[in-house]
Subunit: 241 residues, 2 copies
DNA sequence: TGACATGTCAAACAAATGTTTGAAACAGTG
DNA sequence: CACTGTTTCAAACATTTGTTTGACATGTCA
C-alpha cells in the first residue's frame, strides 16, 4: 500500500503528501529533462523545483533513469490523446483533407504550450542521442504515425508507385513540420518576427500541405520524367560520378 | 628526443611534438563532442583518444570551451570550402538547376563521411541546445546559405509574392534535407534498408528538388486559391477558431 | 656546456552529482 | 497510548570531471 488514505473516497489531491510529491516530481522532471537533457539534468534541480528532498527521486522512482522513462511515458500518452494524427477526421474523408488535418495536428502538437510543451524538445534530443526512450517513442507514436501517413499518400499516388517513393514523400511532409521543432532556434534567429507558437499553425499547415500536394500530384502525373534514369533503387550500389 | 627536426624548415608533422598533439586533440575532440555533446564529453576521453595527457587541453587551448569553439571553427571552414552551396554553378545558371545543385550540395555535406563527418551531428545539437557556437554557425554558414536560397526561390516565384512566402518555401526545402540529419536514427529504425550515406544523395536530391519545384511552380500559378482568406500575415494576432 | 623557453606528465584539488543511510515525522490501527 | 508501515529529510558517500600544480624532459641558442 503506497498511499495512506486509500479507504477514503476522496483522491489525495491535497497540496502535500506522497502522491502530490510524485506528481510534482514528474512535472518538474519533464521541464528539466527537456531543458537540459537527461545527463545534464540534475536530480537536485528537479527536486528543488518540485519542493522535495534530494532523496525523493530515488524513493519514488528508484533512480534517475526510471523517472525519465516514466516522465516520457506519461507525457506521450497525454499528447497522443490530445493530438490524434487523423485530426479527428473519419477514414472516409478525402485524402487531401486528411493530409491537411495530419499536418495541422502535428504542427499543433509541436507548438503546444500546455503542461507537456517540453515533449517536442525531449523527442528531438532522443533522435540525436537515442536511448531506450527512443524505442518507446517509436512504438507509441512514430510507427503508427508513419502507417497513417503512408495510407494517405498511397491514396494520393497512382497504385503503381513503389514503396520507396511513398516513404520519401512521407519524409518530405513530416520533415517540413519537424523543422520548426528541431530548428526553432535557427528560425527565430533568421526571422525574429515569425511567431513560433500556435498562432503560426494555420499559416504553416496551409503552406506545407499545398506545397506538398502539388508536389505529390505532379509526381502522380509525371513519374520522375528524365531523372528516373539517373536514379537507382535503394539497395543498389551507387557509384560516385 | 621525441622529434629531431624542429629547427629545420619542415613543418613538425612527425608523429609526435606540440603541433601534432594539438592536431590530435582537435581531431579527437570533434568526434567526442559530436558523439556525446559538449557537456557530456570529457577532456579525459578526448586526451586518451589523442594519446595526450589530461592537462594537454588546458595547456594548448586554455579550457574545454575554447577547444570546442576551435574545433567548430576549423570544421566549419573546411566543410564550407568543400561544399559550397552553389554547387560550383555560375550565378547565371537556370534557377531550377541551381536549386538542384543546392539540395545536392547540402545533402552531400550531411552525408559526408570524411574527417569532419561529425559536424552535422554537432550542429544539430547546437540547434537544440544553443550556445555561443550557434552564433558562429549562423554567420559562417546559415545566414549566407539562406541568402543564396532566397535568391533562387525569388527567381522561381512571381515578383509580387511576399517575403513570408519566400522564407516558408526556403524552410520547406531545407527541412527536407536536414531531416535526414536530425532524424537519422528514426529513419533507420523505420526503413532499415534505406542507406543513409552518400549513395542515397542522388535519389534524395532528385526527389526533394522535383517535389519542391512542382510545389513552387504551383504556388506561382495559383496564389493559395481559397486558402488565402484563412491565413493571416505573420505579426497579425491570430485567434483560435 | 648551461641557462632558458616550451611541452609533457602524474598527482592532486575542488566542485558537482547520483545514490545511500539512519533518524525523525507522520498517519492509521489495535 | 503503543505499534507499524510510509514518507521526508539532512547528512554523508563514492565517483566523476575540469582544472591546477610542480616536477621533469626536451630542444634552442648564446
Amino acid at each position: 500500500m503506497t498511499e495512506a488514505a486509500v479507504h477514503r473516497s476522496l483522491p489525495p489531491r491535497a497540496s502535500s503528501g506522497p502522491a502530490e510529491t510524485r506528481r510534482a516530481l514528474l512535472a518538474a522532471a519533464g521541464a528539466v529533462f527537456a531543458e537540459r537533457g537527461f545527463r545534464e539534468a540534475t536530480v537536485r534541480d528537479i527536486c528543488d523545483r518540485a519542493g522535495a528532498n534530494v532523496a525523493a527521486v530515488n524513493y519514488h522512482f528508484g533512480d534517475k533513469e526510471r523517472l525519465y522513462l516514466e516522465v516520457l511515458r506519461q507525457a506521450m500518452a497525454e499528447m497522443n490523446a490530445r493530438y490524434p494524427f487523423d485530426g479527428g477526421l473519419p477514414r472516409g474523408a478525402p485524402a487531401e483533407v486528411r493530409l491537411h488535418a495530419f499536418v495541422h495536428s502535428l504542427l499543433s502538437r509541436l507548438f503546444d504550450n500546455g503542461e507537456h510543451a517540453w515533449l517536442g524538445r525531449l523527442m528531438a534530443r532522443e533522435m540525436i542521442d537515442p536511448s531506450n526512450a527512443l524505442e518507446v517513442m517509436m512504438t507509441d507514436r512514430i510507427r503508427p504515425m508513419a502507417e497513417h501517413l503512408g495510407e494517405i499518400i498511397r491514396e494520393l499516388l497512382p497504385a503503381a508507385v513503389d514503396e520507396d517513393t511513398v516513404w520519401l514523400t512521407g519524409f518530405s511532409i513530416v520533415s517540413q513540420c519537424l523543422f520548426y521543432n528541431h530548428c526553432r532556434s535557427v528560425v527565430s534567429r533568421l526571422r525574429t518576427d515569425l511567431p513560433l507558437d500556435h498562432s503560426a499553425v494555420e499559416r504553416l499547415a496551409d503552406h506545407i500541405t499545398s506545397l506538398s500536394l502539388r508536389g505529390i500530384r505532379g509526381l502522380a502525373k509525371t513519374p520522375l520524367s528524365r531523372r528516373v534514369s539517373r536514379t537507382k533503387p535503394f539497395g543498389a550500389v551507387a557509384r560516385r560520378r
